[in-house]
Symmetry: C2
Subunit: 573 residues, 2 copies
């Protein structure tokens, strides 16, 4: 403190003085031509005449506060925390608020601790949400249930600072005891919401919970109603969910509403980050649609800081962390230099820190490695005169349809029907290592040969596979078992292409450019097997997502929550 | 919680439904025609179709959130907490953030506890600041020093929720150990500032402390600079400090800056409240000067709530307290009805609650009652050939000048010189009951006869008197000693007029209208003694305020902080 004050008074040199820049002041909403003095990672002065041990000439460029992503799932990128930091810090992101919901499903509390511990090894401050909905439904099998006491452990041990998106809005509204236990024990913390199309009286009832940061608005009307009711509107722009242009209309209607809004990512991919950017991308999009640049900047800096009560950041102001990004202009928001706590951590788009390989030794190595599958495991004995339920995958959607079709029966068993594109799909329970197998059928993948399989399968992330034949499927599943997860394509006994995801079956050790290339190779390989679906592995990953209607396949079999739960494979009409 | 949810879902009646109003939505900055359902003091629904055990027709009037005063000193009004509530709740104020700085000087921690305990007996939520500067200077004698450990006791015992205005900015900037002890132990709490004309490098240095809510801006330039540097700008409009119209210019320049601004009172008087209002007055002033009405409303509702982290109030939204004010319009912001936690507490300007007489038994009864003064106590032996320092009181200002003048000597003693208006003034130390007497002289009061005396004398609030003759002065001081304080005018042995202030020598038991009348009577009586000063008791109360230059009189004698401290009465040239 004495050091800070001496530098602030100008009686001692600062560690760093950035001179000659234009500060994007997100508090007074002005540009300011002033120097920034930094000592011990803290901004101690703004003005003129400071001396620094190091002095940098900003040469008329704009200096903005380090950017903050208020909601995202690191796992969606398949990047590890360190490689994620390697990808986004050079884009000007200095703080993130990740919800480790996915790894909590596959690895439980050790997974959450792992994400937290790995993040500490990077210059990217990560404040984690305690996942509030693991399992996402009673028909999923996570590594362990994250109930109230486990969430409290996350807070008490410092892994999590706030409550993750409370997705079970029917439970909140109905007054479910367990859900309210989670809400009540998060008293005093920021609690975030998940309210897709929840409006009117349901919205009001839900808000008694105090869970008041929501990223699920698709349209301006929905966002405006949520804002009125007290929600901080998280304007989402992710790799597949593009809500920004619609939702930010509420700011074009009345700019002053920005005070309780912020931009967030939710789900990203490595290639989306590489080709579009991260929070910088959102700033550019907001400005392009007509939002005032300084307001756009506030939506990714001071506003998420205020909502998450991170009083030490979000603006370039004395006493705040020296998280500073140099850009040519807000309109052309592309980071030239990034300082984190006063240390230059990225220059011209390149990280100046090492993206360490993760220490996966901290993760529970699932007993799934002991699962033994045989050709018989995959057989389905036909029922005389019965039809089968088939999931219809809808291109580019999380939603599915249910079809009832005649099965292809060979030697008394139901087999993949390549002619009619009714392919066998399998889910193998891996989180608890039981090896329990559920078998269903899917239409829409169009594989002519081989199999594709993945250990990314929302929300429980068991092993999932779709195949044109049993032999290929067995090879694919065995690959996942032997490699603790990954993405794989097979033909017969051969692995065609593979991408290991050794971290919880969800994340790779590759950096963003390598991962992006590897994913493209995987998609290409799937296309070689005949699929015309655009993102075959992403489509596959949603076929287990039991919380979304209609028919899905979990390790417990077909599930349709709209119909109340488990559904049989065979149907008699 | 189950009750709330059932009412929210519409499955059980609410306690109260306010129908047919126009909600002033300070979140989305819109008016909304919607009903408000309230259960157990909480807003559970906004919309239509709610049934209430009680239903109120708002008849097209505007419903705004209960108003919040982010900074004030209750003691300045001379009203007790309960009578203060009786005065401002009917005006639509439902939450205040008082700094009990004055009573902390006269009664120490028991005084702070008293204010807190008395406030609990009213429908006005009061969240107190822990006074950070008692004594205000080393030359003042408070009842006890409020050092770091005593401030911590205020937090720990629940009396105070945040740190009061840190006035000692030189100490903060210099890194004074004791000051920084206070700052450091308030870690995690809101810390407020006091930065009159502190700018540039000093401002930056001060802000490392994290004390970031300031009400001392007099002009737009000052406020704009503070906003830039991270300060929440408290736009002050008090009984004598009228800063609103100047400071709120920063909002006319750019409305979106409202996000980190609020309106506050600081110091009020009973008559100011009666004739102008409280926060409603500020809303009207803001709108009159061209601020958008919904933004003006935000400055007295959601914004102070956000700054002080009162997440449960500041807007009419589900889950928030049902603190609701009905007004004809924001432009004509005059409360017709006021609900606090869903209970109607004021109707048509009248409180529906009893303003209890305070339980002063909790206050330390100062041993000042044992002080015995004699005519000799007031005598000043003249020094041959020496001149005397004289305070020049400047009409309507807290500032003073120092004069050096020839004394009027009678029988070897310096006496009040009515001809030249050089009057004797006396300060009697009462907080610790030592009876220590300091004597000085003042020009500007113009008393032709008699004395005026007061127990309100910033910041230590010892007994202070100015007199045309010693006999009147003795009578006046003896009145204060016998009555534990008050305001008094005397002539010879007669008390001309008096107003007891039995609560810490600062506050009356009267309600606002009676007090206002009594104060007018006191001023009239002082004018009868010949003074032409406009607010003689207020002018008197500032003559001890040692933190403000130039010359002041405390119980330790003349003080001029600009000259380094104690000054002698006599001067030889």
């Amino acid at each position: 403190m004495k050091n800070l004050l001496a530098a602030a008074r100008g009686e001692a040199p600062s560690d760093l003085v950035i001179k000659g820049g234009r500060i994007a002041n997100v508090l007074s909403l002005e540009y300011e031509e002033a120097d920034i003095a930094v000592k011990d990672g803290i901004i101690v002065g703004i003005g003129e005449g400071y001396n620094g041990i190091e002095e940098v000439d900003a040469d008329g460029n704009v200096l903005m506060p380090g950017m903050i992503d208020g909601h995202l799932h690191i796992e969606s990128t398949m990047l590890a925390p360190a490689t994620f930091a390697g990808a986004v810090v050079p884009l000007g992101t200095t703080t993130i608020m990740p919800d480790p919901h996915e790894i909590a499903n596959t690895c439980g509390l050790p997974g959450i601790e792992f994400m937290w511990r790995e993040s500490l090894r990077t210059p990217l401050d990560a404040y984690f949400a305690a996942p509030s909905c693991v399992p996402a439904s009673p028909f999923e099998t996570p590594y362990q249930e994250i109930e109230t006491l486990k969430m409290m452990e996350c807070y008490d041990r410092g892994w999590c600072t706030h409550m993750g998106e409370m997705m079970n809005f029917p439970g909140v509204i109905a007054g479910d005891e367990e859900i309210w236990g989670k809400i009540t024990t998060a008293r005093g913390l920021v609690k975030t919401a998940h309210l897709p199309n929840v409006t009117g009286r349901d919205l009001c009832t839900y808000l008694i919970s105090g869970c008041n940061g929501d990223h699920e608005s698709n349209f301006a009307d929905e966002a405006r109603e949520k804002l009125r009711r007290g929600i901080w509107v998280m304007i989402r722009e992710g790799a597949t969910e593009h809500n920004l242009e619609d939702v930010a209309q509420i700011l074009l209607e009345d700019e002053a509403r920005y005070a309780r809004c912020m931009a967030v990512s939710d789900d990203l991919t490595a290639s989306h980050i590489l080709f579009n950017g991260h929070m910088d991308h959102k700033v550019r999009l907001l400005i392009d649609m007509g939002i005032r640049p300084l307001i756009a900047a506030a939506l990714v800096t001071i506003n998420p800081a205020q909502y998450f009560r991170l009083w030490d950041r979000g603006a370039i102001a004395p006493g705040m962390l020296a998280d500073i990004v140099m850009v040519p202009s807000l309109e052309e928001c592309r980071a030239m230099k990034v300082w984190k706590r006063g240390v230059l951590v990225a220059d011209d788009g390149n990280p100046l820190f090492k993206a360490f390989a993760p220490m996966t030794i901290d993760l529970p190595q699932t007993s799934a490695a002991n699962i033994r599958l045989t050709p018989d495991s995959l057989k389905v004995r036909a029922e005389e005169g019965a039809k089968i339920r088939v999931i219809e995958a809808l291109p580019g959607k999380v939603l599915t349809n249910e079809l009832t079709l005649d099965p292809l029966v060979v030697d008394g068993h139901v087999e993949s029907d390549r002619e009619r594109d009714i392919l066998k799909m399998v889910v193998v329970e891996k989180n608890q290592g039981t090896g329990r197998i559920a078998i269903g059928f899917v239409k829409g993948f169009g594989l002519k040969k081989g199999a594709i399989a993945s250990s990314v399968a929302h929300d429980a992330h068991n092993y999932i596979a779709v195949a044109a034949d049993d032999r290929s499927m067995l090879t694919a599943l065995q690959y996942l078992i032997d490699n603790h997860g990954g993405l794989v394509t097979t033909q017969g006994e051969e692995v065609s292409a593979s991408l290991p995801l050794p971290i919880g079956g969800l994340m790779s050790n590759l950096d963003a450019p390598s991962l992006s290339k590897a994913l493209l190779r995987m998609i290409k390989s799937a296309e070689d097997l005949g699929t015309e679906i655009r993102q075959p592995f992403m489509a596959l990953s949603f076929l287990s997502l039991s919380v979304i209607p209609e028919l899905k396949l979990t390790d417990k079999g077909y599930v349709d929550l709209a119909k109340g739960g488990i559904q049989t494979l065979f149907v008699r009409e």
